[in-house]
């Protein structure tokens, strides 16, 4: 019996420690004003010739949104770049759209046919031989990209000697639904804050979007892993373990705007795919090549994070139920409630971030949004937990099929921009 109580105590202590670390990484960028001010692009324009960019845009059944994205990319305010749209041979509708735009901007946009369609990394690999730029940038078919982005990325590469630049991606439609709201905030915390922590630790699971790496590095490391469902994360870990300097930059004006999946079902599938991808990267073991013991430990924590985080809410419920069932001494019962301190603090911080997000992007946060935020906290955790479980089962079955997410352009709304503090 005493052994069970000891196990229980360790379980609570672990939950408390994890909740605190998770919260701390989530708010990393705000932990000191220095960090906030250093989280954007550098502003000095270095001398010398600017780099050439190749922007890869893989698209599959995206005929509704691809045209506007490609046209937007064709109008970047930058001298040397090309846009490569990658379409599967069997996707006639999207192919038609891509070729139409390529015909309008022949010097900038070209189309590459993917002979083996069905996965994003496969498409990227198909385009790699056609890349002529010094730097490869990746965008999704529904992205809204700022015309000055490349200028800043180029500055970042050449002033800081970075090998990889991860710029900001932001979901915009916070008021579409309760899970869209939490998804938007997740992105906000991830790109605004958490990625900077990873960058300081020297191991960055990259986002699959608005990320820029040197072409020769990608070729040297063998391109993207066609079997991996989170090829962006995989590339990031691989490049980190090779010692690449990964610079994370978040600038409110230059952020790439995206939308959340339009239904819970598609959100669920997307999340399953990401979780499964992280699992694959964990199993691949590329992180074992990271230089220090501490980094290797952290890498495993970072890759396991989505799973651990999904279950903190459930773990808390289990803990509280156990108090009643196990009849622990009062002191231990009291201790069992302490993980609620970081967990509730997290929700309070999310509300503050919601306010900051809306202020920054000229959107409105209504009482309904705040209520959705608080009430939706636990259901969102359950959703993530279910996706995590599904990912584990799929991976065990060896089911690696790419479940595509549909996009409808929900993020394309006029919005005033206001600079954050």
């Amino acid at each position: 019996m005493a052994f069970v109580v000891l196990l229980y105590f360790l379980f609570i202590a672990g939950l408390l420690a994890f909740a605190v670390v998770s919260l701390w990484w989530m708010i990393h960028v705000w932990t000191s004003p220095q960090r906030v001010r250093g989280s954007s692009f550098v502003s000095v324009q270095p001398a010398g010739q600017s780099l050439g960019f190749s922007l890869l845009v893989p698209a599959r059944h995206e005929e509704a949104v691809l045209e506007q994205t490609l046209i937007g990319l064709a109008h970047m305010r930058y001298p040397r770049y090309e846009v490569i749209a990658i379409v599967g041979y069997d996707d006639a509708a999207t192919m038609a759209v891509a070729e139409r735009v390529a015909a309008r901007f022949p010097s900038i946009v070209k189309v590459v046919v993917d002979p083996d369609p069905g996965s994003k990394p496969g498409a990227l690999n198909a385009a790699l031989p056609h890349v002529r730029g010094d730097v490869v940038g990746i965008f999704d078919a529904e992205d809204e990209v700022h015309p000055d982005l490349l200028t800043h990325v180029d500055r970042q590469f050449r002033s800081t000697g970075a090998d990889v630049v991860q710029a900001g991606v932001q979901l915009m439609n916070h008021d579409s639904s309760w899970y869209a709201l939490r998804n938007v905030l997740e992105y906000y915390f991830h790109f605004r804050s958490r990625l900077h922590r990873y960058s300081e630790m020297g191991l960055v699971p990259l986002g699959g979007n608005t990320v820029f790496a040197r072409t020769e590095d990608i070729r040297a490391t063998g391109g993207w892993d066609a079997d991996c469902l989170a090829e962006d994360c995989d590339l990031g870990i691989r490049l980190s373990s090779l010692g690449a300097r990964i610079s994370v930059c978040y600038d409110v004006d230059l952020v790439t705007r995206e939308e959340t999946p339009s239904t819970i079902r598609s959100f669920f599938k997307q999340r399953t795919r990401w979780n499964q991808g992280f699992l694959q990267v964990l199993k691949k073991g590329e992180w074992a090549r990271l230089p220090s013991q501490r980094q290797r430990l952290l890498a495993r924590l970072v890759l396991a994070m989505p799973f651990l985080q999904a279950f903190t809410g459930v773990a808390m419920v289990v803990a509280l139920v156990t108090i009643l069932w196990l009849r622990v001494p009062v002191g231990l019962a009291l201790f069992s409630f302490t993980p609620l301190i970081p967990l509730v603090a997290t929700v309070v911080i999310e509300a503050v971030a919601l306010r900051e997000f809306c202020r920054t992007y000229g959107r409105r946060a209504t009482i309904r949004d705040y209520v959705r935020l608080i009430v939706g906290a636990f259901p969102y955790q359950l959703l993530l937990a279910a996706a995590a479980i599904r990912a584990v089962f799929r991976e065990r079955r060896g089911d690696r099929g790419w479940e595509k997410t549909e996009h409808h352009g929900l993020h394309r709304q006029p919005a005033r921009l206001r600079r954050a503090a």
């Binding site: 000191s32 004003p33 009291l334 509730v344 911080i349």
Partner: protein
């Protein structure tokens, strides 16, 4: 190494602080066990700490949520870690040793706080000097009060709130420290506005919203652990058969009685100057931005002290901090005044030096006297002698009513715990102590009458009865008199009772036998020669035979 670099950067402060703390330690320790006299509350907290340490219970009696328990839990940690109870000469002395440790911590943190408030080093030192050397401070900082235990936490909260680099971890830490202070002594909650004001003065736009969110969440959520504890015990709301947190809070808020004017007079008698000069400094502090949170703290305390109603004796502890900070701070600001033309540059420094000299002149003599009293005057002798008498003269199965300053010592000397009762509990704990002693005061053999017992007898009927129906067996001290009184459940023996009957009765009481004819004759002769009955009783109590019985 980072630590090495930090040490090198702060080597002067570390040097100054080491010397300062050594002086503080000497002054605080000198006479700390004999002045001031041991007080009932101190015994209560030490016995509660002992109870937590040895049995995991918050009190030897029923814990009734009068104060959050974190304060004496820390005391228990100290006692456990250092074995102070075994080492010290009595229970409260062990607690006072812990208070030395607490005071050194507070003094060090106060120095750091003063430096963070940008006081020049001399003025930071002055703040600690004021905090330690004032006779009022010398008196209350030695005593085992929860307010003292809360002080390092409170000062730490302000130190962190003054974070020069505006790090979120500091704001979270400040909130945690303040929660620790409140959980040690709930009245600290009253100065929350001052801490909030301090944080408000010291945030950076870049992370301000998150600083506040973290500060507020950590503070509120950690503080809620205390009501949660009450809930887990089923003791949050009032009920027929159990104590409750709500009852305790409403009691503390609405309690009357006690003479707050007398309490204030006592404080002023110890040190006329500190609080008055502190008040003057508070007025001047209005003009100094970085001192305003402490001005607010002083105003809050002034409101508490001057309102009609109950004023706890230990509250003086809370007043010393803002007084020290404000006086030192005003002098620091004075020395930094910029008076335009360069010819006048020396004037502010000269002014502040003059001010210090004036203070020394005004406060010096009474402080010197106070420090002498604190180190030389043995106020504790009567209690020590009483303790000695009780442990040698009282029968092993005797039942004793006393105040808590001696409770733990008697229990640790071997008297059964249920027979040694804190005098308050006889009237106020019918469900606990009252059940063991249904006949009230009549069930007891002795009552130790100290000043607090006599003062409280007005409101405690059983205790009043006990005092009325008892006779002094031993008496110690001239100033704070402590008497051991024998209780007569059937009433004090009538003066008209014959001498013979008196002797026979008392042989029965003390020696449990009848006197021999020779003994009886001897005593009667003595009584007729002028010996008082008190003397006879004392002689019997001090007799070898009785002492033998008491030992067995």
């Amino acid at each position: 190494m980072v630590v090495g670099a930090w040490l090198r950067a702060h080597v002067r402060s570390i040097g100054v602080l080491s010397i300062l703390l050594s002086v503080v330690a000497v002054v605080h320790t000198s006479g700390m066990l004999t002045f001031p006299v041991r007080f009932d509350d101190e015994g209560t907290y030490v016995s509660q700490a002992w109870s937590f340490l040895t049995r995991g219970e918050l009190s030897p009696y029923t814990y009734w949520y009068d104060h959050p328990p974190f304060g004496w839990m820390q005391l228990a940690a100290y006692l456990g870690a250092t074995g102070a109870l075994e080492r010290a000469e009595n229970a409260v002395a062990a607690g006072r040793e812990a208070m030395l440790f607490v005071h050194l911590l507070s003094a060090a943190l106060l120095y750091v706080l003063s430096r963070r408030l940008r006081f020049a080093r001399p003025w930071a030192v002055l703040a600690v000097v004021l905090y330690t050397f004032s006779p009022l401070a010398l008196s209350v900082h030695r005593m085992v009060f929860l307010d003292n235990v809360a002080m390092p936490w409170l000062i730490g909260a302000f130190v962190l709130a003054c974070t020069p680099r505006h790090r979120l971890a500091a704001y979270a830490g400040s909130a945690l420290c303040f929660a620790g202070a409140v959980l040690s002594k709930e009245t600290v909650l009253l100065v929350l506005p001052a801490l909030v004001y301090q944080v408000w003065q010291n945030t950076d736009r870049a992370n301000r919203a998150y600083a506040w969110a973290l500060f507020a969440s950590v503070l509120v959520l950690t503080g809620l652990l205390y009501p949660l504890y009450a809930v887990l015990n089923g003791e949050l709301v009032p009920s027929e058969s159990r104590v409750s947190l709500v009852d305790a809070i409403s009691f503390q808020l609405t309690r009357d009685g006690g003479d707050s004017a007398r309490t204030i007079a006592d404080w002023l008698q110890l040190d006329h100057h500190l609080l008055v000069v502190g008040a003057l400094a508070a007025v001047a502090a209005l003009a100094v931005r970085r001192l305003r949170p402490f001005l607010l703290m002083a105003l809050i305390h002034a409101a508490v002290v001057l309102r009609p109603g109950y004023l706890p004796v230990p509250y003086a502890v809370s007043l010393i901090l803002p007084a020290a900070v404000l006086i030192a701070g005003v002098l620091d600001a004075l020395s930094k005044l910029r008076l335009g033309s360069s010819r006048l540059r020396a004037v502010p420094t000269a002014l502040s030096v003059v001010a210090v000299l004036v203070l020394v002149g005004v406060m010096g003599p009474s402080w010197a006297r106070g420090m002498q009293t604190a180190s030389r005057y043995d106020q504790d002798a009567p209690l020590r002698q009483t303790q000695e008498w009780l442990t040698t003269n009282v029968e092993p199965d005797a039942r004793v009513l006393l105040d808590n300053s001696l409770w733990l010592d008697l229990v640790r000397a071997g008297l059964p715990e249920r027979n040694v009762v804190w005098f308050y509990k006889l009237d106020l704990d019918p469900g606990g102590v009252g059940i063991n002693f249904p006949d009230g005061f009549s069930s007891f053999d002795y009552i130790v009458s100290s000043e607090i017992v006599r003062d409280s007898a007005e409101d405690l009927p059983e205790i009043k009865e006990a005092l009325d129906n008892s006779v002094t067996v031993a008496r110690f001290g001239d100033d704070n008199v402590v008497e051991v009184r024998r209780i007569y459940p059937d009433g004090v023996p009538d003066e008209r009772m014959s001498d013979r009957q008196f002797v026979v009765d008392h042989y029965d009481i003390f020696l449990k036998r009848e006197p021999t004819t020779a003994e009886l004759t001897r005593w009667l002769r003595k009584l007729r020669a002028g010996a008082t009955r008190d003397e006879v009783m004392q002689a019997l109590a001090d007799s070898d035979e009785h002492l033998e019985r008491a030992k067995s």
